[in-house]
């Protein structure tokens, strides 16, 4: 593969540059390292970094930009007539790419010569046959414009990657030569190297920004595509979720939001009382020994992957609930038809959130100064009165923050609801019915065969963006509450 060779060459160049720079620096000082401005190794690092970093930067940039340019040029070549009814440019482009890869594969397996593959007037039937012989996957018969586009795609890609290799090597060599020539006993190599490293550190720290920008942009673009195909009014204010891949689907977020919130509320009803009381007991009543055993044990619940909770809900809690509340169940109520239900998902999610609420609240309760408890106890209040009337009010903003964070976790939780909540989108208050959530729908719209031109697929990005905004809003709100209402003790 060309990429690994170029990386190896760059590395070799850097190692070579290190030794060359180091020995040149020593030579300029006539072998006396004390006469140099910096330690000899810094001169070596300087050459190595100057050779490596700009070249790598160029490589990454090229790899990112080249597909964009090639795609734009090639898709501009495809006449509108070549795009079939009900299809779009993106689909045709993926066909073009497939043909191009097919040609590559056929050449690699020796069934096609390079000249044949480049021949613009090639007999299309013969070419299709030889591609099929080579075991390449083609979804439709190749048409003339697609073949031309694929040939253009191949030639541009191969020219591009040759140019990239040459350019990257030239930049690396130029960098090495520049740094090598600059190497002299007076040259402040350490300062230059440290500046360079600092820039790299800053770059690493900026990846966090890049990720956020990536998340927002990737979802924003597709969401805008979605709103061109589907009315935003229906998405935000409609009342039905009924995706239909033949078109005419109703895609409203409200029923999904209802399911999400309902399940989250049940989860919080389980997690908040249990977590809060556990935190109070652990921080106010428990002896050191109890605390050192119970706290880590509870936190194990937080370390268990969500897939385990999902399976637990699907295979254990759901059937158990059905045998209690279902037809012919122990209570004889007949309320619950299937093990997929709001209650199942909510209960299990609540168990998952217990340690989340308890350890956050525990920290907050511990932060309330002991003098306040002592004051209250000194006035004759019992321990529970102290907790209820002094400690909890003081810790309230932090606890509310913790609950909001738990709510944001519950809303964004995926595996439990995918496995246990069901797939029916509706407004209903019955916790024994199956309901669906935003995350469940994202998963079901984006897995399997997806067509990135239909609103039914693109709606997942709009849902994702909404989810992102909701959870982000909750987190920021939680931080705001904690900061604004926190009592400052000193």
């Amino acid at each position: 593969m060309a990429l690994s060779w170029i990386l190896l060459t760059l590395l070799a160049l850097a190692v070579l540059g290190y030794f060359a720079g180091r020995s040149r620096a020593l030579a300029s000082a006539e072998g006396d390292a004390r006469a140099l401005h910096s330690l000899p190794s810094y001169y070596g690092y300087n050459v190595a970094l100057t050779a490596l970093v700009p070249a790598l930067g160029l490589l990454i940039l090229w790899l990112l930009v080249q597909p964009l340019i090639v795609n734009n040029t090639v898709s501009g070549m495809i006449p509108d007539t070549a795009i079939a009814e009900g299809s779009d440019r993106g689909l045709v482009m993926s066909e073009v790419r497939r043909v191009a890869y097919g040609l590559d594969g056929a050449i690699a397996s020796g069934l096609l010569s390079e000249v044949q593959a480049r021949n613009a007037d090639a007999d299309i039937e013969a070419l299709t046959q030889s591609l099929k012989d080579a075991g390449q996957v083609l979804t439709q018969d190749i048409s003339k414009p697609i073949l031309l586009a694929a040939q253009k795609y191949r030639s541009m890609t191969s020219t591009g990657s040759t140019a990239m290799q040459i350019m990257v090597l030239v930049v690396a060599l130029l960098g090495a030569a520049f740094a090598y020539i600059r190497t002299h006993r007076e040259f402040r190599a350490r300062n230059v190297v440290e500046q360079g490293i600092l820039a790299l550190l800053l770059l690493a720290a900026s990846i966090a920004i890049l990720t956020t920008v990536g998340i927002v942009l990737s979802m924003l673009f597709e969401t805008m595509n979605f709103f061109q195909l589907h009315s935003w009014k229906d998405f935000f204010f409609g009342s039905t979720w009924a995706p239909n891949f033949r078109g005419g689907s109703e895609l409203s977020i409200l029923p999904l939001l209802w399911g999400t919130l309902y399940i989250s509320v049940i989860a919080l009803l389980v997690a908040v009382p249990i977590g809060l009381f556990a935190a109070i007991y652990l921080s106010e009543y428990a002896t050191g020994a109890t605390r050192s055993i119970a706290k880590p044990l509870l936190e194990i619940l937080a370390g268990i992957p969500t897939i385990v909770y999902g399976l637990f809900a699907l295979l254990t809690v759901g059937p158990a609930l059905v045998s209690l509340f279902g037809d012919g169940g122990a209570l004889g109520l007949g309320w619950m038809a299937s093990s997929n239900a709001v209650l199942t998902a909510g209960l299990v999610m609540g168990i998952m959130l217990i340690p989340f609420v308890s350890s956050l609240s525990d920290d907050i309760i511990n932060a309330v100064p002991q003098s306040m408890r002592d004051g209250s106890l000194g006035l004759g209040a019992t321990k529970s009165e102290t907790v209820r009337q002094v400690v909890l009010p003081a810790a309230l903003p932090g606890i509310v923050g913790a609950i909001l964070l738990a709510a944001s976790r519950a809303i964004g939780e995926t595996m439990i609801v995918v496995m246990a909540a069901g797939a029916i989108a509706k407004f209903s208050g019955n916790p024994f019915e199956a309901m669906t959530t935003i995350t469940t729908r994202i998963v079901s719209q984006l897995t399997g065969d997806t067509d990135f031109a239909s609103p039914e697929t693109l709606v997942a990005f709009a849902l994702g963006l909404t989810l992102f905004v909701i959870t982000l809003g909750l987190n920021i709100f939680a931080l705001y509450i904690v900061r604004k209402y926190r009592e400052q003790y000193e």
Binding site: M1, L64, P67, R190, L198, L201, L202, L203, A204, A205, S206, I207, A208, T212, G214, I215, S218, M219, P273, I274, G275, F277, Y281, A294, L297, L298, L301, G303, I304, P305, I307, V308, G310, L311, F312, L315, T316, L379, A381, T382, K383, S384, E385, V387, L405, R409, G412, T414, M415, V418, T439, I442, V443, L446, T447, G448, F461, G464, L472, N475
Partner: protein
């Protein structure tokens, strides 16, 4: 408590009716409330721990079955007229016999075994052959292709049995529950009973579950988690190779060099937000950027690793910063005092002292990434049958594979209940990995952490 001093109890204190040690009704009420409150706390912790116990017992009882499998020992005569009609042991000719061609051999071997043991049954050999797994034919074929010289001899094999028979051996399937089941009949179970009594059919440890590959819907008894374990391993390599250096570099910048300015603030806010973004959003990012834009291969561990890297970075950055912060300033001052530059003081003195903490944080971050499922669903690591181990290191990163949690999810969706046992078994393996990683992290912390 102002209300206490103004309460009726205070006025009655002027005329004491009895001893101070007699508790009045109010005190009793308050003490009862105290007791109740404490009880709520104990109950809350009790519920939490009970849930943990229920969960763990459930996993263990439901999952241990997957590590055992029922096998049937048979002596199969590898008949030359069926397998190699020309008799010249040409490997191409032998390969022409499909797996179906091996079914009669197995059926007749089973029939002769049944006759030898004196088991009475009305079943035809073909029906009886269904006791065995469909994987048995493939196993036999692979053996013959690997050892063509054995044709014509009688070889002893240990075959997997059908998942229903296996379920019967484990008690999951009963004679009542198979009333509507087309793939097994009571007559077959009668034969199974007698085979078991004579010791030919038995349960044994099944290493193929741990090291083997996934199997299609029809053969739950042959499915294993080994290939998806490799997928997870390759993903963890990517996460380790990217998240550790980037995370450490970012933490060093923020903790040691960052000036108080707008950019630093933005970076800090971003990192704390990313830590709270739902994992599925990272999956959407991976799908949009790595697969749709960069055209990296779908389902590849490389893509999964990249997505999980972005997800783990905040965790690693937060813990690395904490351990950098824990190194006392005197170390930095001493280094600066003997003439080191700021960069030298960080890389030569602060970083080595913070290394155990960084390592601990990284292991915990990796453990988190190992169990994460939701983003993997979106980049196509589910719905894929991980039937072949990757051939080579580059293929390990780039060719489609599954991952342990994705494999578990995949099994939980399949129709045959025999897969549920596999899913629980997979969870046991996953949890063993997680417990090991966390234990290593705790040991590292205990062993190397220095307190100043």
């Amino acid at each position: 408590m102002t209300d206490i001093s103004q309460s009726p109890g205070a006025s009655s204190a002027a005329k004491p009716k009895g001893s101070l040690f007699d508790k009045d009704a109010r005190t009793k009420r308050r003490n009862a409330a105290e007791g109740r409150f404490k009880l709520y706390g104990i109950a809350a912790i009790g519920i939490g721990l009970l849930m943990l116990i229920v969960l763990v017992t459930n996993i263990v009882t439901a999952g241990t079955g997957a590590f055992q499998q029922s096998f049937l020992e048979l002596n199969v005569e590898l008949k030359e007229d069926k397998l190699d009609k020309k008799g010249n042991r040409n490997i191409e000719d032998i390969k022409k016999v499909s797996t179906f061609g091996y079914a009669p051999l197995i059926a007749s071997a089973l029939e002769s075994e049944v006759q030898k043991l004196g088991i009475q049954t009305d079943l035809k050999p073909k029906e009886m052959g269904k006791i065995l797994s469909k994987a048995a034919q493939a196993e036999l074929r692979n053996y013959v292709i690997a050892n063509p010289d054995e044709i014509g001899k009688t070889v002893s094999f240990r075959f997997l049995v059908n998942s229903r028979v296996d379920g019967y051996m484990k008690g999951r399937v009963t004679r009542e529950s198979i009333a509507n089941d087309k793939s097994i009949s009571v007559a077959q179970l009668d034969v199974v009973d007698q085979l078991r009594d004579s010791g030919v059919l038995y349960k044994a440890f099944n290493p193929d579950f741990i090291f083997g590959s996934d199997a299609s819907d029809q053969r739950p008894e042959a499915a294993g988690i080994g290939v998806s374990m490799l997928g997870s391993l390759f993903m963890m390599f990517v996460v380790l190779a990217l998240a550790l250096p980037i995370g450490v570099a970012a933490s060093i910048y923020l903790e040691e060099f960052a000036p108080q300015n707008r950019l630093t603030d933005i970076i800090e806010v971003n990192i704390s937000n990313l830590a709270a973004v739902p994992s599925i959003v990272f999956g959407i990012l991976g799908l949009a950027v790595f697969i749709n834009y960069m055209h990296l291969p779908t389902s590849a561990p490389l893509v999964g690793g990249l997505v999980l890297t972005l997800m783990t970075l905040p965790t690693i950055i937060i813990s690395t910063r904490a351990s950098l912060k824990a190194v006392p300033p005197s170390i930095r001052d001493a280094a600066l005092g003997v003439g080191a530059s700021k960069m030298q003081s960080v890389f030569h003195h602060v970083l080595p002292l913070a290394a155990p903490g960084i390592l601990t944080g990284t292991i915990i971050g990796l453990a988190q990434a190992l169990g994460e499922t939701a983003p993997l669903l979106l980049i196509g690591m589910v719905g894929f049958i991980a039937s072949n181990p990757p051939d080579g290191i580059v293929a390990g990163f780039l060719s489609p594979n599954s991952a342990m949690p994705a494999q578990i999810y995949e099994w939980s969706k399949r129709a045959d209940p025999a897969f549920y046992e596999r899913a629980w078994g997979g969870i046991i393996i996953l949890l063993i990995f997680l417990v090991t990683m966390n234990t290593i992290a705790v040991i590292l912390r205990r062993r190397f952490e220095r307190r100043w």
